[in-house]
């Protein structure tokens, strides 16, 4: 990895892009906040999720499972399973970012889809770090502020169903899944997983159908060969 320093102009350009992604992504913390209180969590619990978990799909999954009547345990397990992709991102980014000690401990919290997308294509460590931190930190701040505002708004709205917030959760999951559906195998896995989950809804406690669908991923991963071209998130739009 070349060690050359970053020119002020390059640095400013990367920061500008990163902040743009940060604003766009952070804003949808409003929808998380609103959906979370609609699922029955308190404002404090909602904010704790955004601060501590800080990975959107896992947070939506946690409150989604609870909203469907699942136990906090199955919600937590689903969130953890979805959080495993951040481990893969970290494995690929570690040689590029090259942080150690306290900096690595702090940087880890903002290792998410968007900070990965905005740093993994950079040619140097210096540029990757600017993209990673510019995106990660701006999303962290805005996501948490937006979560709080959404939770406050959601808790003063009354019945969430009359605002369609229950429909918003499914749409949020679909939007998170959408970029991965350009690949045929992923489409088949998604279809099979949805079918398995719906098939056991009538015979299992809430939360279990989603966890059972992870078995489809296991089976497909063992039985197929080719790598996944959509494995990494592209730059968010």
């Amino acid at each position: 990895m070349p060690e050359e320093t970053l020119s002020a102009a390059d640095r400013a350009a990367i920061l500008r892009d990163s902040l743009g992604v940060g604003v766009a992504t952070g804003a949808y913390g409003v929808s998380f906040g609103a959906v979370s209180v609609a699922a029955g969590l308190s404002v404090a619990q909602t904010c704790a999720l955004s601060l501590a978990m800080f990975t959107g799909a896992s947070q939506f999954a946690f409150v989604g499972v609870l909203a469907a009547g699942g136990t906090p345990l199955s919600g937590g397990l689903t969130a953890l399973l979805l959080g495993t992709r951040n481990t893969l991102y970290g494995l690929r980014l570690a040689p590029l970012l090259r942080w150690r000690g306290a900096r690595r401990l702090l940087a880890a919290q903002v290792l998410i889809d968007e900070s990965t997308a905005m740093s993994m294509t950079r040619p140097t460590t210096a540029a990757a770090r600017v993209g990673f931190l510019g995106t990660g930190v701006s999303i962290f701040v805005l996501w948490n502020v937006a979560t709080f505002l959404g939770a406050i708004a959601g808790s003063t709205l009354g019945d969430p169903r009359s605002y369609g917030l229950d429909a918003a959760v499914g749409a949020a999951f679909l939007a998170l899944l959408w970029p991965r559906l350009t690949d045929l195998r992923n489409r088949l896995v998604a279809l099979a997983a949805a079918t398995v989950a719906l098939g056991i809804v009538p015979v299992s406690p809430a939360g279990v159908p989603v966890l059972a669908a992870a078995g489809v991923a296991l089976l497909a991963g063992v039985l197929t060969r080719q790598p996944d071209p959509t494995e990494f998130p592209g730059p968010p739009r």
Partner: protein, 98 residues
């Protein structure tokens, strides 16, 4: 119980991120492990969409949420931003319930 799950799952998600930045890369260089890990988000998100939209407790139902999802698909095809997709689906379901 909910608080415990929030804090434990939150700590777990943090450790998953930190592990990626800390563990030697060869740990996940077994292709099967890598493929499974790649496919888990696809399977879980698809299952979450299905359950969130078509399940009510232990019953399968077709209601305003399905119309919301259909609108979300249309908006995604049109490359609408995340917030537009999410609130478009909510608005559709809300209007149908008036």
């Amino acid at each position: 119980m909910t608080w415990a799950a929030i804090l434990l799952a939150g700590a777990g998600c943090y450790l998953l991120k930190l592990a990626g930045l800390s563990v030697p890369p060869r740990v996940l260089q077994r292709p099967v492990a890598e493929r499974v890990a790649d496919l888990i988000p696809v399977a879980l998100l698809a299952a979450l969409v299905a359950v969130q939209v078509f399940a009510q407790g232990r019953h399968l139902v077709l209601d305003a949420r399905a119309a919301g999802l259909a609108v979300a698909v249309g908006l995604l095809v049109l490359r609408a931003p995340f917030l537009v997709v999410v609130f478009g689906a909510a608005l559709t379901a809300a209007l149908l319930r008036l």
